[in-house]
């Protein structure tokens, strides 16, 4: 249990946990974005992809469990470290507060973290649990009939003609509310900002960052965050400006 103790009790150990879980979550958000960008193709793609994920069955739960554990550890470690940090700063604050070079992104990690957490819960409630805007939730939409096979890694994982949830429709309907879209945009903006510090920070924590290439790493980080943000902006943005529209007539829903 020596190793366990080193990771969960020492300061560097918990930083490493933050970095490992952060890396898992970054992997997830990249995959999630890439998957969702299929919304710009015909509904077969996103719907087939959603169906494919459902078909993973227990494996989906394994993945979900990994993500949940990562989120829990990430938040636990952040909270524990923050509480210690506040204590370490001592009883008397500086009379004059001054920052030499710490970036705004690094200093607002906690804030951006909270907002992102709130957003994730809302996002799950919105599209996974259907707890908000029930009428556009996938269970309440007509099933979609696959026109073509959905292929994943070259294999036809969802066959043409299969009746699947119309996730494509749900996404577009969901983002038709400017308030929801705006919240979404702000939240992914903050997540990108969170990653602006988190991304190269994890290299530092793993001991892989050095002045030899930290400038390059910084550029990659900024580029990554920008691309990530733009990718996420694209979906609600396209819905709001009307270039992404529901493929079924809205009347069909209201007429049910």
């Amino acid at each position: 249990m020596h190793l366990f103790g080193l990771f969960f009790r020492s300061s560097i150990g918990r930083k490493i946990l933050m970095a490992v879980t952060g890396l898992i979550l970054i992997g997830f958000v990249i995959g999630h974005l890439v998957g969702n960008l299929q919304v710009f193709q015909d509904p077969d793609h996103l719907n087939g992809y959603a169906q494919f994920l459902r078909q993973l069955g227990p494996w989906l739960w394994v993945a979900r469990l990994v993500l949940i554990v990562s989120v829990v550890i990430h938040i636990w470690a952040a909270t524990a470290l923050t509480l210690e940090n506040n204590r370490a700063r001592g009883p008397e604050p500086y009379g004059v507060k001054y920052t030499i070079r710490a970036t705004l992104a690094s200093r607002s990690m906690r804030l951006t973290g909270y907002v992102v957490l709130a957003f994730v819960l809302y996002h799950l409630a919105h599209f996974t649990w259907g707890a908000v805007s029930r009428e556009s939730y996938k269970d309440n939409l007509e099933l979609y009939t696959m026109q073509n096979d959905y292929r994943f890694a070259g294999m036809p994982v969802v066959k043409a003609g299969a009746e699947v949830h119309d996730v494509h429709e749900m996404v577009i309907l969901g983002f038709q509310s400017p308030v929801v879209s705006l919240f979404y945009i702000v939240a992914v903006g903050l997540l990108s900002f969170h990653l602006l510090h988190g991304f190269d920070s994890l290299f530092q924590t793993f001991g892989l960052r050095s002045s030899r290439w930290s400038g390059c790493l910084r550029k990659v980080t900024v580029l990554f965050c920008l691309v990530y943000f733009l990718g996420n902006l694209a979906i609600p943005g396209a819905v709001l400006i009307g270039s992404l529209r529901p493929h079924t007539a809205r009347v069909a829903v209201s007429g049910r």
Binding site: S10, A88, E92
Partner: protein, 270 residues
């Protein structure tokens, strides 16, 4: 060109943290420091103010200082929120009054951190650093037992990098500047200095685990990669050493957790 500006005397208002001892609460007190030569060092300015206070029978401002050439690491004022004050790569004693303008209000505080309790006024107790050092910041070698110095070549790049880390003067500005009062830069500098040398390999894993463990116990904060420490460091020691220590810690954790232990590790009776 400089001559004209540098002889113009200046006056400033000092806001100094006064605290009688660790138990009593402190507060800021204002003093006027008038007609100062810009070529005076900041600490010399405090000397002058103190002589004036002494003349009035008031308790002079206690501040830590010794070598006054930026190498002993004793001086430790936070000036206008920045440990060691304005300037890059300098200790408090290397700040000159020309860094300020006539009429400035200059706030002077101790280095603040829970692990550095205030002793009096601007003096803090930084013995925590010594405790970290005691935990593993050494290579065990008795006087007389050392092998021939040139018996173990040290690649020049390693020696140079070790020297970069070894320039740490143990002032604690890294802790004072860190938003989390973390001592990572200090510990990383020590761990890296010894860990980069072939001589330091025998105790390398034990050293990093022990020093980090002691650092944690002493109530320092945790590193969040702000890099304020290296910016405030009077020797501009790079936070690259923190990355290096993180890696060292990771590998040491695995190695010590899985490496088999000798049953006779405690040493047999003679």
């Amino acid at each position: 060109m400089v001559a004209a500006n540098t002889t113009q005397p200046l006056s400033i208002t000092l806001r100094v943290w006064r605290q009688a001892d660790a138990r009593q609460p402190g507060k800021f007190v204002e003093y006027q420091a008038k007609d100062l030569s810009p070529n005076m060092s900041f600490l010399e300015m405090l000397d002058v103010v103190n002589d004036q206070l002494t003349g009035k029978g008031e308790d002079p401002i206690a501040f830590a200082h010794d070598c006054r050439e930026g190498i002993c690491g004793t001086c430790s004022c936070t000036i206008n929120g920045k440990p060691h004050g304005p300037g890059k790569g300098v200790a408090t004693c290397q700040i000159y009054m020309r860094a300020f303008r006539d009429g400035d209000v200059v706030t002077v505080e101790p280095f603040r951190a829970a692990a550095f309790p205030v002793v009096k006024d601007l003096i803090t107790d930084r013995s925590a650093f010594d405790k970290i050092q005691s935990a593993g910041g050494f290579i065990t070698v008795r006087a007389g037992s050392a092998p021939e110095a040139n018996g173990m070549p040290v690649p020049k790049p390693d020696a140079d990098l070790a020297m970069d880390a070894a320039t740490c003067i143990g002032c604690g500005a890294c802790v004072a500047a860190c938003k989390n009062a973390s001592a990572m830069l200090f510990v990383a500098a020590k761990v890296s200095h010894l860990g980069l040398m072939p001589q330091g390999q025998a105790e390398r894993d034990r050293r990093v685990l022990a020093m980090v463990g002691t650092m944690d116990e002493l109530g320092f904060g945790n590193c969040t990669n702000y890099y304020e420490c290296s910016a405030a460091c009077p020797k501009l020691i790079s936070h690259d050493f923190i990355a290096r220590m993180n890696r060292d810690f990771l590998t040491a954790s695995f190695r010590t957790s899985f490496k088999p232990e000798s049953a006779g590790a405690s040493g047999g009776a003679a």
